[in-house]
Every structure is written in structure tokens, then in C-alpha cells.
């Protein structure tokens, strides 16, 4: 049986909020939903959003999470919070009081981060729940429409999901549409004195390589039906909403861990809760051997900053940085060595992973840069729309940065894009230093 009552939870919440304010945190009000483990699995499967649209892939992740949970292969997360105003968070009935206290303090940290970090400026937290609700309704409507049906909807959604991360990696910067770009370039050409633009074709599409593949397709494929266009937009909008979170995973979790530690330490927990809290806290922020635990790394870096520059500097940093700049600026040699970070790669001949670089001098910089290459969306290849040819061929190009893409996967994605785009599709990349095209 549970060791808590609603009154108790509310009591602790009041204290947590007071302490949060005293830390100069500024967060959205939080709506806690008390749910059982099955609902929790449901929330996890649907990216936390209570109003997310239906698609079989979420059923698949539901089954996977449930199986893993039932087999004891993995626990369920203590916290899950949505970047919305008010923030929605879930508390699982099965959890004991100490876990709820940690969760609530942790959520204050997250919500504060959502509200203040500049990456989230364009996510429109006030309306997100309604926007997803409306999208969910529309998807349902299309599925139930006898002229469309589940199969057709899935054909579009499957394809969109395969390129859902091919969206701009510049959260907070507004996309310029074709008209504005054209104006901009026309002006440039008119005022051009360096003859840099002599060979520039003002009529090409797109005028500059477009990183938003989904948006480009929905805007430029004239054969799409309105519902198809809508589905593409729904997936694109969701990606744009989630991208800031991918960009700040390490910071966001580190920040929340630091905040929950500060708050709970100031709460003066009775001994029976304190021991379980400490156990849980240490479990969350422990390093994972051979991997990066974002909770651990983010927490360590923030602690390091606090030691050197004080908490006010931490408050400033949580506003202006993202994982990339955060690590570049604050993951120094001392910390790299303390965490014993190393980079490794796969040795094809021996088919083993081999250590490539360790955190000595000057190796730590390489390790740090390799780490940065893998944070956020940096682990997802960049694919741009290069050109839309007169005959309707869509030319896509992978921006090769030294890392080859997995061809078998790229092939499948290529098929999906073909399903989406009504004309031909061309895709180029570099494999083992040779241009590869399909």
C-alpha cells in the first residue's frame, strides 16, 4: 500500500514551491496527474502528450515498454513533464512518498527551464495541448473517412516519420518563406558589386538549400491532397515542438537534478524519506559505464559551474545556452578527466569497438568535440533539399561531415520519401569517399 495521502503530497508541494521561489526560479504552474502504471506507460508511449494522434508505432512502443516493465528489464521514469503552460506532469500511484517529493522538485526545475531557456521561445507553450488535440482529431477524422482510411493515412505518416528529424536545427529562428527569400536575393543581386551573384539563378527552387524537408514537400508538391498536406504539417509541427528538447537534453536534465537536490536538501526531510531520496538521487545521477548519462553529465557540469562562478551564473546559463554551447564552454579538462570521458569507434576489421581518444592533454578536446558531435540532433544526419527540377524531380543531399550514413536504412527512407513525393526523388551522399546516388 502507498505510504502517502493527497493531503501530504499537497503539503510537500507547497513547501517545494516556496523553496523554488527562494532560488529565484520562475516556472509555469504545474498540473499533476495521479495515474497508475498502465496509464504511465500510455503517456510514455505517446511522448507524454495526453492528446497525441494515433499511429501504430505508438502501439508498438507501448507493447515494448510494457513487456520490459513486466519482465523487470526496466523501471518506469519517476518524472515526465510536458513543456506547456500549465506544465502537465504525472505522478504514479505505485510510487512511495519519497519518490513523489523528488519528482515534484525535479519538475519545478524542468518547468523553469522550459519557461526560461531561449531555445523554447517559439514552442508556444500556452497553446500546445490544444494544437495537439486538434491534430489528433484531424488524424482520427482522416482515418475514419471512407474515402481515405487507415491505410492511406499510415502511408503518409510512416513516410513522414522516417524524415521527421529532417527539420531546421535552429530553434528560435523563424523560417523565411520563398517570397521573402526571393525579395532578399533580388536585393542582393541588385546591389551586388562583387559579381558574386552573376551565376545565381533567381528562379531556382529552393533559393537556398532547405533543411525542412517535410515543409518543402508540403509546400511544393502540387499533387498532394489537402489532407495529405495537413498530415505532413502535423508531423513537421510536432518535430519543431520537440527539437528544443533534443537540443537541451543534457542541460535540462542536469538543471532539474541540481534543482531537486537543492530543494530537497532545504526541505529538511524526515529520516525515513531522506534515505530513500538519497538512494534514488544517486541512482538518477550515476554515470553509466561506457555511455553518457545526460542526468549525470548535466548535473556534474552545473555543479562545476556553481563551484566556480556561483548559482546566479547557473541561472544565466540555463537561459542562453544549449547542449552544444554549454559543453563547449563549460566541459573543461578537469571535468573530462574527473568523468574519465573517452571516445571510441567501431573497428570493422576486428569487429570490435576500440578506444580512440582519452581525456589526457590535449586529447580531452577531441573527446569533448566528439561528444558534441553526438548531442541533440547532431547524431542525426543532415539532409537538405537541394533542388526541385523542372521535371518534378526532388533532389536531396546528405551533408557529409566525415561520418557515412547507414546505407541499408537510407535505402528504406528513400523508399518512404518516394511514397510521399509524387515525382522522382534523387538522393546523394558520400560513402567511403565516393559519391553515392540513388
Amino acid at each position: 500500500m502507498s505510504d502517502w495521502s493527497m493531503d501530504e503530497i499537497q503539503d510537500w508541494d507547497r513547501k517545494i514551491c516556496v523553496l523554488g521561489k527562494s532560488l529565484n526560479l520562475d516556472w509555469y504552474p504545474i498540473d499533476y496527474e495521479i495515474c497508475d502504471y498502465k496509464e504511465m506507460i500510455g503517456h510514455m508511449a505517446y511522448t507524454g502528450l495526453p492528446t497525441h494522434y494515433r499511429h501504430w508505432s505508438y502501439g508498438k512502443s507501448f507493447d515494448r515498454i510494457q513487456t520490459e516493465y513486466n519482465l523487470g528489464m526496466s523501471g518506469l521514469p519517476y518524472e515526465m513533464i510536458i513543456n506547456s503552460n500549465p506544465s502537465i506532469s504525472y505522478l504514479m500511484t505505485e510510487n512511495p512518498m519519497a519518490t513523489h517529493i523528488l519528482t515534484m522538485a525535479h519538475c519545478v526545475g524542468h518547468s523553469d527551464f522550459f519557461k526560461n531557456n531561449r531555445m523554447f521561445a517559439e514552442t508556444e507553450a500556452d497553446t500546445v495541448i490544444d494544437r495537439f488535440k486538434s491534430a489528433g482529431k484531424r488524424v482520427k477524422k482522416y482515418m475514419e473517412d471512407p474515402n481515405i482510411g487507415v491505410d492511406a493515412v499510415e502511408r503518409i505518416l510512416d513516410a513522414c516519420h522516417s524524415i521527421r528529424f529532417q527539420v531546421p536545427r535552429t530553434p528560435g529562428i523563424k523560417r523565411r518563406n520563398h517570397k521573402d527569400l526571393k525579395k532578399y536575393y533580388t536585393k542582393l543581386i541588385q546591389n551586388d558589386k562583387t559579381s558574386k551573384f552573376d551565376n545565381f539563378n533567381i528562379n531556382q527552387l529552393p533559393l537556398e538549400p532547405d533543411s525542412n524537408v517535410l515543409k518543402f514537400i508540403s509546400e511544393n508538391d502540387r499533387h498532394l491532397a489537402e489532407w495529405e498536406r495537413d498530415l505532413i504539417r502535423i508531423v513537421e509541427q510536432e518535430s519543431l515542438y520537440f527539437i528544443p528538447q533534443a537540443f537541451t537534453k543534457i542541460m535540462n536534465e542536469g538543471w532539474a537534478c541540481m534543482i531537486h537536490e537543492k530543494i530537497v536538501q532545504a526541505l529538511g526531510l524526515p529520516a525515513k524519506y531522506h534515505i530513500s531520496f538519497m538512494r534514488l538521487h544517486n541512482q538518477v545521477v550515476r554515470p553509466h559505464l561506457g555511455q553518457i548519462n545526460p542526468y549525470h553529465l548535466g548535473y556534474k557540469v552545473f555543479k562545476h559551474i556553481e563551484e566556480k562562478h556561483g548559482f546566479d551564473e547557473c541561472l544565466r546559463i540555463r537561459e542562453v545556452h544549449n547542449d552544444e554551447t554549454f559543453l563547449k564552454a563549460y566541459l573543461d579538462r578537469e571535468l573530462c578527466q574527473e568523468l574519465n570521458l573517452f571516445s571510441f569507434s567501431f573497428d570493422k576489421k576486428a569487429s570490435v569497438n576500440r578506444v580512440a581518444e582519452i581525456s589526457d592533454d590535449p586529447g580531452w578536446q577531441t573527446v569533448r568535440d566528439d561528444l558534441i558531435k553526438n548531442v541533440g540532433l547532431n547524431s542525426v544526419p543532415v539532409v537538405l533539399v537541394k533542388e526541385l527540377q523542372k521535371n518534378g524531380t526532388l533532389v536531396l543531399e546528405h551533408q557529409h561531415d566525415g561520418r557515412d550514413i547507414e546505407l541499408s536504412e537510407a535505402n528504406k527512407v528513400f523508399e518512404f520519401i518516394n511514397n510521399l513525393w509524387s515525382g522522382d526523388v534523387k538522393f546523394t551522399t558520400v560513402i567511403e569517399e565516393e559519391v553515392w546516388e540513388f
Binding site: 496509464e39 506507460i41 508498438k60 571516445s343 571510441f344 569497438n353 576500440r354 581518444e357 550514413i405 537510407a410
Partner: protein, 394 residues
């Protein structure tokens, strides 16, 4: 101050997406089965033997980086010594030589599903049937069928009979008008009532089919190489499983022939070692002989399946074609299956080119609705050929 809500939903929001995902897996199973049917491991197994079927998971694909040397990942190893070039983790399993086999690629999600031959047959044969079954005097083969059995006031939604339901509504409306409790002029809607609902009722009935006999005729001569014999055996095995699964009482006659034909039992038929020359007509004559003795065409549906490699002694070709044509008259459907590659058989070392025409060409003239020819040159051909014969929808 935060707000708290105790959320009580009973509805499982993921239910429909989960069932949709399972449907997709089921479909993948069916597709994988087709690759499995011709595999060595299932041919000649008894019905209880469990067969493992690899099923490709329903994977979501996206652009990812491959694991080449330039793509580095980072890990932490607090409190451990790490040095450059050190090997970490375990050696990955070596890929088998034939890389194109399903599931060999790294990162592919695989399920393995275990099922018995019987269950497998259920998946495979659900929509296949013996073609052209006619009513004959003897009634033997029983088959369970779902039959419509009137209407009833309860049932599941998909079986709702709109016609019957509306009939009942109209009936009630007329009665109401007569009784004066409803005025058609009033403009009120006369709504459906639960008691109006009628559902189609279906019940299983044992369908008595007419008697059927199936002749399996196989060439076991020396020219049937190991791989050809394997194809022929696979074809018959599948056929046998199909008949056993679908029809509870059906006669099967096994005949194997070289230059001379014998009726054999099931075990001998599937295990016999080939040798000797080939006279196709002997096998067919044996069929005629047995029909004459035991299975009168008036009483029996007769099916004959011949399977060989098409190598026949030149002098026998006329004779064989004659037998085929004669047999065709008695048979509901008869099938000539030729195994092995068509091209490979041509102009073989000892043949003198033009004279060595294979039975495939000879039998062309006889082909019609009742006489079907199929070619099986590799194991992947077996299932499509099978589906074609028994009218599966594909």
C-alpha cells in the same frame, strides 16, 4: 502552488494502435511463412513438430550514421583505466557468408515465432481449395463451413442486418399508426428501437463433400538429381499437408515410377532413392489402372498430380502425351509439374539437340482448364505455383 488531479480513465488509449501493430506483425508472419515453406527443415516433418519462423519486425526507418571509424561515440568510465586503442565491449557476432538472408543485417529487429506444422497449415491454406469439386455418388470428404442460419435479435455489430432491422421498424411503425400512438403527419421521427435490431446468424455446419481421390505421381529416375528431387518432394509434401489439413477424408494414392511404376505408401514415396531410366507413360498407366479398379469416375472426384524433371525417353513422349489426354477426361483437374531449370535441361551433353524435347513442350498442346502445367525451378517457385493451382487470392 500546483494543482493535482486524480485521473481515472478506464479506456486504454493505446488499444487500437497496439492492435494495429499486431496486425502488421501478423501480416509479416504470413509473408515470412512463404519463405519458410520450402525450407529443408519442415519438409517431411510430422504435424506436432515445432517450427521456428523468423519474422522481420515492423521497423521504423530513418537516416542514421553507420558504424564506421570516423563516426565516434563517447562514454564515461569513472574510476576505471582506459587507454588508447583498448578494445571495449564484446566482439560482434560475425556475419554469415550469405549476407542477403533476412535478418542478418545489424540492427534489424527480429521476432522468432514458434508454431507447429498444423498451425502453419492454418495460416497457409486458409483460402485455398481443391478446384472443380463436383457432386458424385459417393459422399466422403467432410469439410467444416460456416453457414448462414437465419436472423436473430442479438449478435455482433458487423453482422447487423440493415434490411431486416428496417423491416422490423416499418412493421412497428405501421402497427403504431394503426393503434394511433404515432401520427405520420406530425413530422416527428419514428426512431429505431433496440428491439428492431436483427443480426445475421451464422453457425458451423459439416459440409458433406463428394468423395475425392488424389494421385501423386513422381518420377524417381536417375536424372532426378538431389535438388530436383528435393523440389518435387517439397511440392508433394506441401500438397499432402494441404489435403490433410483441409479435407478430413480423402484418398491419396502414391505412385513412383522409373521405367516401371509402383504404388507405394506415404513413407516410401517421400524417402525413396532415385535410380534407373524414365518412362513417364508407365506412371500414368498405373493411374489409369488404379482408377479402373478402385475409383470409378462417376463416384469420385479424381485429381492427378505428376511431378518430374521432364526428361523422358524420346520414344515414350507420344505415349505419355496420349495418357495425359486420356486421364484428363476422368480427372477434375490434373497437373503436370516440372522441376529443374528449363534451360539447363536443353542440349545436355548426350542429347542431340532437336530430338531431346522435354515433356514441357510436348504437354503444351494439352494445356487447358483441366490440365495445368507448372514449373518449379527453385524452391521460391513452389508457393506461388501452389497458390495458382488452388486459386488462392494474391
Amino acid at each position: 502552488m500546483s494543482t493535482f488531479r486524480e485521473h481515472k480513465t478506464i479506456a486504454d488509449r493505446a488499444a487500437s494502435d497496439r492492435s494495429r501493430h499486431r496486425q502488421k506483425i501478423e501480416k509479416a508472419i504470413k509473408e515470412s511463412i512463404r519463405d519458410v515453406v520450402a525450407e529443408e527443415s519442415i519438409i517431411g516433418q510430422s504435424g506436432n513438430k515445432k517450427i521456428r519462423i523468423p519474422v522481420k519486425g515492423i521497423k521504423e526507418h530513418r537516416f542514421v550514421y553507420g558504424s564506421n571509424e570516423k563516426s565516434k561515440r563517447v562514454g564515461s568510465a569513472q574510476g576505471k583505466d582506459v587507454s588508447k586503442g583498448q578494445q571495449i565491449g564484446h566482439r560482434r557476432k560475425q556475419q554469415p557468408a550469405d549476407g542477403d538472408k533476412a535478418g542478418d543485417k545489424p540492427g534489424e529487429e527480429m521476432y522468432e515465432i514458434e508454431m507447429s506444422l498444423e498451425e502453419l497449415a492454418g495460416y497457409l491454406f486458409s483460402d485455398l481449395e481443391l478446384p472443380e469439386l463436383e457432386k458424385k455418388n459417393f459422399k466422403f470428404t467432410t469439410q467444416e463451413k460456416m453457414k448462414r442460419k437465419g436472423k436473430r435479435p442479438y449478435g455482433i455489430r458487423p453482422r447487423l442486418s440493415k434490411k431486416e432491422t428496417i423491416k422490423h421498424k416499418i412493421r412497428r411503425k405501421k402497427a403504431a399508426i394503426k393503434a394511433g400512438s404515432y401520427d405520420p403527419e406530425s413530422g416527428d421521427r419514428f426512431t429505431f428501437h433496440e428491439s428492431d435490431l436483427r443480426y445475421k446468424h451464422i453457425a458451423p455446419v459439416l459440409k458433406e463433400n463428394t468423395a475425392a481421390v488424389v494421385f501423386f505421381v513422381m518420377d524417381v529416375s536417375g536424372s532426378m538429381t538431389k535438388s530436383r528431387k528435393y523440389l518435387a518432394r517439397s511440392f508433394f509434401f506441401l500438397l499432402y499437408q494441404f489435403l490433410n489439413h483441409k479435407y478430413s477424408s480423402i484418398d491419396v494414392v502414391f505412385i513412383s515410377h522409373t521405367a516401371d511404376a509402383n504404388e507405394v505408401n506415404e513413407e516410401q514415396f517421400f524417402t525413396q532413392v532415385p535410380n534407373g531410366g524414365t518412362l513417364v507413360s508407365t506412371g500414368l498407366c498405373k493411374v489409369e489402372e488404379i482408377i479402373e479398379k478402385r475409383y470409378h469416375p462417376n463416384n469420385w472426384n479424381i485429381y492427378t498430380f505428376y511431378c518430374g524433371d521432364g526428361d523422358n525417353w524420346a520414344i515414350d513422349n507420344e505415349e505419355a502425351l496420349g495418357s495425359f489426354s486420356r486421364l484428363k477426361e476422368y480427372n477434375q483437374v490434373m497437373c503436370y509439374a516440372e522441376v529443374g531449370d528449363r534451360e539447363a535441361g536443353y542440349g545436355n551433353l548426350f542429347g542431340n539437340g532437336s530430338g531431346e524435347r522435354k515433356l514441357w513442350d510436348w504437354t503444351r498442346t494439352a494445356e487447358d482448364k483441366k490440365f495445368k502445367r507448372i514449373r518449379i525451378s527453385k524452391s521460391a517457385d513452389i508457393w506461388p505455383a501452389f497458390k495458382r493451382l488452388f486459386g488462392g487470392r494474391e
